[in-house]
Amino acid sequence: MKSNRATQEPGWVRALLLATGLGFLFFFLGLPLVAVFVEALAQGWPAYVEALKDSETRSAIWLTVLIALAVLPFNILFGVAAAWAIAKFDFRGKSLLITLIDLPFAVSPVVAGLIFILLFGAQGYFGPWLAANDVKIIFAVPGMILATLFITFPFIARELIPLMQSQGKDEEEAAVSLGASGWQMFWRVTLPNIKWGLLYGVILANARAMGEFGAVSVVSGHIRGETNTLPLHVEILYNEYNAVGAFAAASILALLALVTLVAKTVVEWRMKKETDMLNTVLAPEKT
């Protein structure tokens, strides 16, 4: 990029912004992260490894991953559909619809769990029917998946809506008028355009699904080795004066950041390959 007074900020502004942004991240993210690992390693590396070997910790990790995997496909499908309808078309009540999508964020996680108890609990609206047919929803994995779906519901949609909004619909309209089918347009035009937003949305929803405590804790029943997710297990370990175990388990969740890193790198790498290919193909056309 050429240095230009209007396409780049002056050096001192860049320095100031960098210092402010990184300083903010250091105090608000870096320190807590370091603190988690300091606590987890308080009794040395062997104790840390030992804590992670615990069979209940491992079953909690597995359940956490399972729930996240069960939740994500639903949210991706919903997120793309909702963003498509909202960003590319005009219709009445759009702000209302967006606000309804936002609502799960504003519901306290504990309340989010509670509403499923009100529906499916023994004293809930559908409770007697479920009991009569011996269907278990709450205090079992299905209820935990439902609560997690509720909590992570808005992420992907909300990530995509502003992005698709700012992109407008010219490209898609061009594709359609050139005779592309709906699917072709989606795969060739829309998806490549929104992949960053979609990736961020998936990463956020995944992180939140794995880290959620409040809602899941209400519907889990806390049966050890069976319905304890990692965050629930962290709380139990902490309450039992097993700080190393608790923070070691928490550090596993912190390591999710690494997953993000890998995912982003892979997408970036593939995209670069694609653009390189396109550039070689299209090079003569560029003026």
């Binding site: 590319k88 609502l103 504003a106 306290s108 700012s166 950041a257």
Partner: protein, 289 residues
């Protein structure tokens, strides 16, 4: 604007959205409101207007607004430097942004309280200056800022990445200063996303419980948040009272979110009734002249 039906999939997308939304969100929330209405509205209002509830509502909404504002300001800077500036360790910093979601909120609360307590890494330096964070309402803002940090950054990032350099270059060729280019071209383009991030952070902050109770101090009338009162009702097996508080909270959040989203929509449309690039660039230049 007239309805545009050039693009396919409107019916399918909206239909699916509405069905899914109804089943997963509206049905459960409707059940909750139905349950709360068992109490009768006058009693719900009594619960909401009690001295302690009022104080808790004030603390919750003030702290949430402050946290969302802090994140709006710093989140913009963070998103900007993450997209635009090269610096060592950038990938790692970028990945770190999601941490607040992955970390169980209780761990966040415990860790923050440890850092900001009188003998903590930061607390030992700021408390002698007479600035207490842990176990005061300031602690609530700190916890909420942490918990909602990813929202603004992550909604802004793809949008900033999407700004085409040609627009800025055009403005530059036409003689606009960097500040003019930013305030007239870049900022309007990212403002709707910034509002979205703000709204999401704010919404999430209102409901947050797990991290706050470890750093708030939980003193009635001073540092009690609404979700704590809900828990307190549940401890008394008063599910109805808890639901009533939850419904009131939901109603307030709904109105505030509707406002922010309306504003966001207005800003987005204003920006997108997009004059062609040259006009936008010309406008920036006009300011320069």
């Amino acid at each position: 604007m007239k309805t545009n039906r050039v693009l396919p999939g409107f019916g399918l997308a909206l239909g699916y959205t509405l069905v899914y939304l109804s089943l997963l969100i509206l049905l459960p929330l409707g059940g909750m409101i139905l349950k709360a209405s068992d109490l009768g509205w006058s009693q719900i209002i009594d619960i909401a207007l009690g001295e302690r509830s009022l104080a808790a509502f004030r603390v919750t909404f003030t702290a949430s607004l402050l946290a969302a504002t802090v994140n709006g300001f710093f989140g913009l800077i963070v998103a900007w430097i993450l997209v635009r500036y090269p610096f060592p360790g950038k990938r790692f910093v970028d990945a770190l942004v999601d941490l607040p979601f992955a970390l169980p909120t209780a761990v966040a609360g415990i860790t923050l309280a440890t850092i900001y307590a009188g003998n903590g890494w930061l607390g030992r330096f700021i408390e002698p200056l007479g600035f207490k964070v842990a176990y005061t309402p300031v602690g609530i803002v700190v916890a909420l800022t942490f918990v909602t940090l990813p929202f603004v950054v992550r909604t802004l990032q793809p949008v900033i990445e999407d700004i085409e350099p040609e627009v800025e270059e055009a403005a530059a060729t036409l003689g606009a200063s960097r500040w003019q280019t930013f305030s007239r071209i870049v900022f309007p383009a990212i403002f709707p996303a910034l509002l979205t991030g703000f709204a999401l952070a704010f919404a999430r902050a209102i409901g947050e419980f797990g991290s706050v109770i470890f750093i708030a101090g939980n003193i009635p009338l001073v540092s009690e948040i609404v979700p704590l009162l809900i828990i307190s009702k549940l401890e008394q097996y008063d599910v109805l009272g808890a639901t009533a508080l939850a419904v009131v909270m939901l109603a307030i959040s709904f109105v505030m979110l509707l406002g922010i989203n309306g504003l966001q929509w207005w800003a987005a449309n204003r920006h997108r009734n997009n004059e062609p690039l040259e006009v936008a660039a010309g406008k920036a230049k006009g300011g320069a002249a």
